[in-house]
């Protein structure tokens, strides 16, 4: 086994993650290889520096409001579900009432039905166009 193959194991060695028999083999190799001993010294120094690096703390009010922002987003999702379920239920009930109301003439029902079907088809066509365009739109990542 040459130095190159040991080099991969050296990081495991300095991190204390090696177990026998790899640990023993690395220790034996290090005893007779100044090149790898130098690598171990360099990696240890590098590790010292990386573990010392610290970032600035954001202002305290960021931490204070951190949970609130998450909580609002989580509960907002549930709010939308309830709202949409409610809207669908009310719309369904209204359509049923309108369709079964004997006081409304068949022609009136047909006209209202045509308006809603038309709106629905327009909406579907716009959504379909957007979905197709988004696959090839190179500007889709741009925030509007």
């Amino acid at each position: 086994m040459g130095c190159e193959e040991f080099e991969v194991l050296l990081n495991g060695y300095i991190d204390g993650e090696l177990k026998d028999p790899d640990l023993k083999r690395v220790e034996e190799h290090l005893a007779g290889c100044p090149h790898c001993r130098k690598l171990v010294r360099d990696y240890r120094r590098l590790k010292e520096v990386t573990t010392e690096m610290r970032f600035k703390e954001p202002p305290q009010d960021i931490w204070n409001s951190y949970w609130q922002r998450i909580f609002h987003r989580i509960t907002r999702g549930a709010g939308w579900v309830f709202f949409l379920v409610g809207v669908v239920a009310v719309a369904g009930f209204a359509i049923y009432e309108f369709a079964t109301d004997p006081a409304v003439e068949a022609l009136q029902k047909l006209i209202v039905f045509a308006i809603f079907v038309g709106l629905g088809l327009l909406l579907i066509s716009v959504i379909w166009e957007r979905v197709k365009a988004s696959k090839t739109d190179k500007y889709k990542e741009i925030e509007r």
Partner: protein
Amino acid sequence: MTLTEQEIISKCQQGETKYYEQLVNKYKKSAYFYALGMVGSAEDALDLSQEAFIRAYRSIKRFKLQYQFKNWFFRILTNLCISHLRKRRRRAEVSTEDSKGATIPIPDDHFNPHLLLERKEIMRQLWKALSELGDKQREIILLRDFQGLSYKQISEILEIPLGTVMSRLHQARSRLRVKMADFM
């Protein structure tokens, strides 16, 4: 009464949102600083870390209690950061084209040394060197040396074998060593 992490997750799985605050408070700093190391922007790190908590909560019913929440959560956060970096690169490519389609170089204000607590030359150089690593190399250095995670934890988070953890760490540290040669 202090609840264990598993008990808290169990409560969250039953829809008791208020308990999730304890998990958020426990991991918010490590999540924020990990994201900051990955994307090099304080605003983006804040957004990404919070988004990861929201996504984790939305999937918490699927979380299996025999695993560690931290590993699972960091997998979500890592994926978000990598996806964010890809989008940012694509955005930069598009937004730097002139009217003839030629690319105009724009200065990248991410990975600014002002984000560092100590701005000694060695720290500035390390921060610059980290920013120049590939995303996968940077993530493994951050998980090991900044978060202090074991190879086993890293292998669970990144869903890669232990051998790959070691070889990827070796590649990342070799590149860092070259870039930091003046300080070795």
